[in-house]
Symmetry: C2
Subunit: 320 residues, 2 copies
């Protein structure tokens, strides 16, 4: 994770730029991992940082804090933020809580819990805002994989074109696919469909994050998927522009990539064809930490369609 | 899977080259999938092909057989080869049964069952032989990932070098990693450590496939892993050289890639340093279809070491 330079560097810049809010203050790092953000806060002049981490990686955080001679400033607290007891309230909460599609296996609920229990009135949350975007895309790789079935006859002398419809159902399924979307495959300006203010949002409101969208196609293409991504924004002191950590396909890649939602059928669009609809993100019934996405959409003159998506279980990947 | 050209084309060539054994004969395809190998056999002149497939893909196989006007020749039989009842014994068994590292989730036991129950005396098995190879390698990507922890201080002002040992244990773990090994990273000629004759091997013998190996390093390098791969060989009529489907890193890539086994520590070798040992492959206790690999090895003057590896659970990937 630390090797995701966009992520780590944006947090570092944001923490250093907010040093006025941090200097001499008490900070809580929710889900501190190896303690990197906590150490950035210490470097920004924090008086004390509580690095709360439930997993065994907390042991490494203790070592790293020692190796950087910050034992006096950064205190690693092993436990969940819902259960740990801190000796004082805090001025600043910092957290890197975002999951795939923002909310998949995210720790946002823990951040809100920490805010309500430990943040002093008027305290600062880094980042302070999250926004969700959607755009129609054409994924040519998926289409190539499907077109393959028409090529088998030439390659091996067997007509397998009847596999096309079956394979289309398999590939264009209701899984949320986490993948890097190529800029050229994005068919319109992305539309923002939801904004989350970390100072005011409630856990109850997160049970249904939804909003409408309207895009207009750049040109002629076949829409076969939507791409969903997020940004988070850090407050800036004075009149400096706020710092944004973006997972947009138009920005440098992050480990979050983008969430791709395949439609059942590709729909042809021309320049300015409107693509409109509503997105609703909600926790899965099986596991509240897993996210589902429901999209109602209308492409041009086509009739309204809707599709439900969810993230399949993956094996854990080793991440830095 | 069909889009793995090396795999599909080698089977096709092997079946066509063995048309003398197939023409006018009865064939059993074990685990037929979409029925591609069955249709190749029909094209090679088989009188009748029983395409036995337990999964629902059998429905697609029925469609494909119809679309190729082979209903009279290829009969899709839904079920496992252990339970289906065929009206006759067969002259030829064809099967694509190989898994990762040859034996992981392989269907070889089903092929042996089919051989013992349905193959006529003197019948043909395609392929007829499997061989397993091992070679010491240096995986520079793994080393780069580990070296990253020494670069964090320059990048972000935090000394995280104490993560190196911890990360080494995480990356160089006991998982069998399925990955494409680059030719340049292979440090010696591969050594064959086991051979399986499909005409004679028993299910009991497959409970422990083992053998010794000896390699000699091409030059100076740091061995940090072994790579294990397999070949299967098809008989050839007359004096033609046998056809080999190889998953060697020295050959064109297949979807099987190679199995990579990371050592705990990298060991320096120079030209002609001997790397010797014994490999044993056996079914996991948790699941008989999952493979474990035990390697005892000695590199140069180092003391004998041993390590057990197993394949972690993955989510199923959609494959063609």
């Amino acid at each position: 994770m630390i090797s995701d330079h966009v992520r780590t560097n944006t947090y570092r810049m944001a923490i250093l730029r907010n040093s006025e809010s941090i200097r001499g203050k008490v900070v809580l790092d929710v889900g501190a991992g190896t303690g990197v953000l906590s150490i950035f806060c210490a470097q920004a002049g924090a008086h004390k940082v509580y690095a709360v981490e439930a997993c065994s990686i907390a042991e490494q955080a203790v070592e790293i804090v020692k190796q950087n001679n910050l034992e006096g400033k950064v205190e690693v607290v092993r436990g969940t933020v819902e259960t740990v007891d801190l000796p004082e309230k805090v001025d600043v909460i910092v957290s890197e809580w975002m999951g795939y599609a923002l909310l998949h296996e995210s720790m946002l609920n823990s951040v809100l819990y920490a805010r309500d229990k430990w943040l002093k009135p008027g305290g600062v949350i880094l980042p302070s805002k999250a926004e969700l975007y959607i755009a129609p895309i054409c994924d040519p790789v998926a289409e190539d994989r499907l077109h393959f079935w028409y090529t088998v006859k030439d390659k091996y002398g067997i007509d397998m074109s009847c596999m096309y419809d079956f394979a289309r159902k398999c590939v264009m399924n209701s899984d949320i696919t986490v993948n890097t979307v190529t800029v050229e495959d994005v068919l319109s300006h992305p539309a923002r469909f939801a904004e989350i203010d970390l100072y005011s949002v409630t856990a109850e409101e997160l049970r249904s994050v939804k909003g409408q969208f309207r895009c207009e196609s750049f040109g002629s293409a076949a829409v076969n998927a939507f791409c969903v991504y997020f940004t988070v924004t850090f407050p800036s002191p004075d009149k400096a522009p706020p710092l944004v950590l973006s997972t947009s396909p138009f920005k440098p890649e992050t480990h979050w990539k983008q969430a791709v939602l395949y439609l059942g059928d590709a729909v042809e669009v021309v320049q300015d064809t409107p693509v409109t609809g509503e997105v609703c993100m909600y926790p899965s019934e099986e596991s509240t930490r897993h996210i589902c996405i429901h999209v109602d959409y209308t492409i041009g003159q086509e009739k309204r369609q809707s599709k439900n998506f969810s993230i399949p279980d993956w094996s854990a990947e080793t991440q830095q």
